[in-house]
């Protein structure tokens, strides 16, 4: 009996320590915020454009992820080619890559002197880095793997005989994908979308490296938080942080029960 109780304590204490470690910083935000002045802070010329830009770029990112990520997930889920596991590993790389390295890589590829960017600049006279488009590039680069892996996982759980059956009923691969596969993995798509969107919203390292931090153009909400903190406006940073915390909680709550376990 005594041993069991001690063993239980040995598990319970570290577990609660872990919870405290996670919750204390969030609670600290609530403790330190100057509630009365929140509206003023949120109405500042830094915060409003940052939130607007974050909304614009994360929505674009999500749209792109779904547009190209869903077919990629399907290809990875169903292909039996020898190279498929390697392709899957390749898609996972940005997931573990430090975001700032991703930003450097994006510069080398799409920068004015980059592998692809030089060509774009030469032909159209347009340079991608330090534009809103660059922000979306950075966000897609980090968010797409989250989306693809989540959707692929649920597509692999789909009985492959459904594909064959739909084909015998006369459905082309495209119609099967659209009317059978996508509706049946809708929960996977929803949770993949939530993950990808949340990752894009929080993106910092690749964005600041590849797109810089220009208010209204490339300064997204996380970048603005950092800028406010550095420029001696911690209350502004806290206010904006609280907004992002609120959004995260709302997204999590909306998905919970419905699509997330």
């Amino acid at each position: 009996m005594r041993n069991v109780r001690w063993a239980r304590a040995g598990l319970v204490i570290p577990a609660w320590a872990a919870i405290a470690f996670l919750v204390v910083p969030l609670a600290a935000l609530l403790v330190k915020v100057d509630w009365a002045r929140i509206p003023t802070h949120l109405g500042s010329p830094i915060v409003i454009p940052a939130l607007r830009l974050s909304l614009l770029t994360t929505t674009s990112t999500l749209f792109i992820c779904m547009l190209v990520g869903t077919p990629l997930a399907w290809m990875l889920a169903r292909s039996t080619h020898r190279a498929t596991p390697w392709l899957r590993a390749l898609v996972t790389v940005p997931l573990v890559l430090p975001p700032v390295v991703g930003g450097v890589a994006l510069l080398m590829a799409y920068g004015r002197e980059g592998v692809v960017g030089a060509l774009v600049f030469h032909v159209w006279g347009w340079s991608i880095p330090f534009t809103t488009v660059a922000v979306v590039f950075a966000e897609v680069f980090v968010a797409l793997p989250f989306y693809v892996l989540a959707v692929e996982g649920s597509m692999r759980g789909l009985d492959p005989r459904f594909d064959g059956l739909a084909a015998t009923l006369g459905a082309s691969p495209w119609r099967t994908f659209r009317t059978v596969v996508v509706p049946m993995v809708a929960p996977g798509i929803a949770s993949g979308a939530a993950l990808a969107w949340a990752r894009a919203l929080g993106e910092f390292g690749a964005t600041i490296t590849f797109a810089g931090s220009f208010s209204g153009r490339t300064q997204t909400a996380p970048l603005a938080v950092y800028f406010l903190l550095e420029s001696g406006d911690p209350q502004g940073a806290i206010a904006l942080s609280l907004v992002m915390l609120l959004i995260s909680v709302v997204i999590l709550g909306a998905l919970r029960g419905r699509w997330l376990p």
């Binding site: 009985d159 005989r161 059956l165 739909a166 015998t168 006369g170 459905a171 082309s172 509706p183 809708a186």
Partner: protein, 357 residues
């Protein structure tokens, strides 16, 4: 070309998949129901998938209703969606996110039929299978028998030339299976296309099919009408399916066959060469001691196992060769039958049938 040729199926299916080398020639006349029987892993499902175009042939061809669907030699291959097939599997695999109506009209819609027309086609098919009132529900609300009938309706709603049924009744419980088998029989009689029914249930095959094709390890071992197959099985598996004891032997005389060194006496034995011998289990009688003035077919045997089926018991015996006897439950009690018991088995010569192997 004659009507028969234009509406029939001629297929030569040759492909290797894992350990299976499938090499089957299949013919089916217009409107015919052909049952494919065979043990697990014999290639039945692979055969269906090849016909549906879900697996590609390495050699051979598939020709049906005047159209060539596949011929590797001629570089012809129609993808599954361009073949006119309907597929029903053991588990219904209805699309869970679609209503019964949308499941059944999925095929016609996929083949470009306008929505209203597809729905009315689906309606007709659901009515024909007694599911008229269930068209708006989701598949999960259906009973297993209803779900399987919806799956059949979905396959038939495209008016296929070739209906492929892969163990359509095997996932159902006994009572539902009997009812669904009857419904299936009625609907298939009215279906003008060709039906290929894969099963390992002899009752499905005997009650539904016009012709039986037995395959083992990827090869056809016997085919014919149910009557022909019951009368003259040519393979132990076939005999087991139709419920007969099957032996192979060599002719010794006009009335004697040598089976693994034991003489079996029959009313007549075909001239020369190897001989197939069948003995109905009901013709095998069991005794505790060697019967006096016994019939000429008397062998010492040991009980291997006993299964009760209604009022009769099937007793599997080991002796000079494996033998099954069918006796009454009273006989089981009278003889106090038990596994390992030593007995004498007798068979009247008149009950033994022989034919050239």
């Amino acid at each position: 070309m004659s009507q028969t040729e234009t509406q029939s199926l001629q297929a030569e299916i040759r492909l290797t998949r894992g350990l299976l080398d499938l090499d089957v020639e299949l013919y089916a006349g217009p409107g015919e129901i052909v049952a494919i029987l065979g043990p697990n892993g014999s290639g039945k499902t692979t055969l269906l998938h090849a016909l549906a175009g879900l697996l590609r042939l390495q050699q051979g061809r598939v020709h049906i209703a005047g159209r060539l669907w596949e011929s590797p030699a001629e570089k012809v291959w129609l993808p599954p969606e361009e073949r006119r097939t309907g597929l029903v599997l053991a588990d219904h695999l209805l699309f869970p996110h679609l209503s019964v109506m949308d499941n059944v009209s999925f095929g016609p819609r996929s083949r470009g039929m306008p929505k209203a027309l597809a729905r009315s086609r689906a309606c007709t098919e659901l009515e024909a299978l007694g599911l008229g009132g269930r068209s708006d529900v989701r598949p999960r609300e259906l009973s297993s028998g209803q779900a399987q009938r919806v799956a059949l309706a979905r396959a038939l709603a495209t008016d296929p030339d070739l209906l492929l049924l892969d163990e359509p009744l095997s996932a159902l419980d006994a009572a539902t299976r009997a009812q669904t088998r009857a419904d299936l029989g009625v609907r298939l009689r009215a279906f003008p296309g060709i039906t290929i029914l894969v099963t390992h249930d002899p009752l499905d095959a005997l009650s539904l099919a016009d012709r039986l094709v037995f395959i083992e390890r990827g090869l056809v071992v016997q085919q014919g009408t149910p009557q022909e197959v019951i009368a003259r099985p040519r393979d132990p598996y076939v005999a087991q399916v139709v419920g007969l004891n099957f032996l192979r032997g060599q002719r010794v005389s006009d009335q004697q066959v040598d089976v693994e060194g034991t003489i079996v006496v029959a009313p007549e034995v075909p001239a020369d060469g190897p001989v197939c011998v069948t003995i109905p289990p009901s013709a095998v009688a069991l005794y505790l001691t060697r019967p006096e003035g016994s019939p000429r077919n008397t062998w010492p045997v040991t009980v291997r196992d006993i299964q009760l089926i209604g009022q009769t018991a099937r007793v599997n015996l080991a002796g000079p060769f494996a033998l099954a006897a069918e006796v009454t439950t009273t006989a089981v009690a009278d003889l106090r039958l038990g596994v390992g018991q030593e007995l004498w088995a007798t068979v009247k010569a008149t009950e033994v049938r022989t034919y050239p192997a």
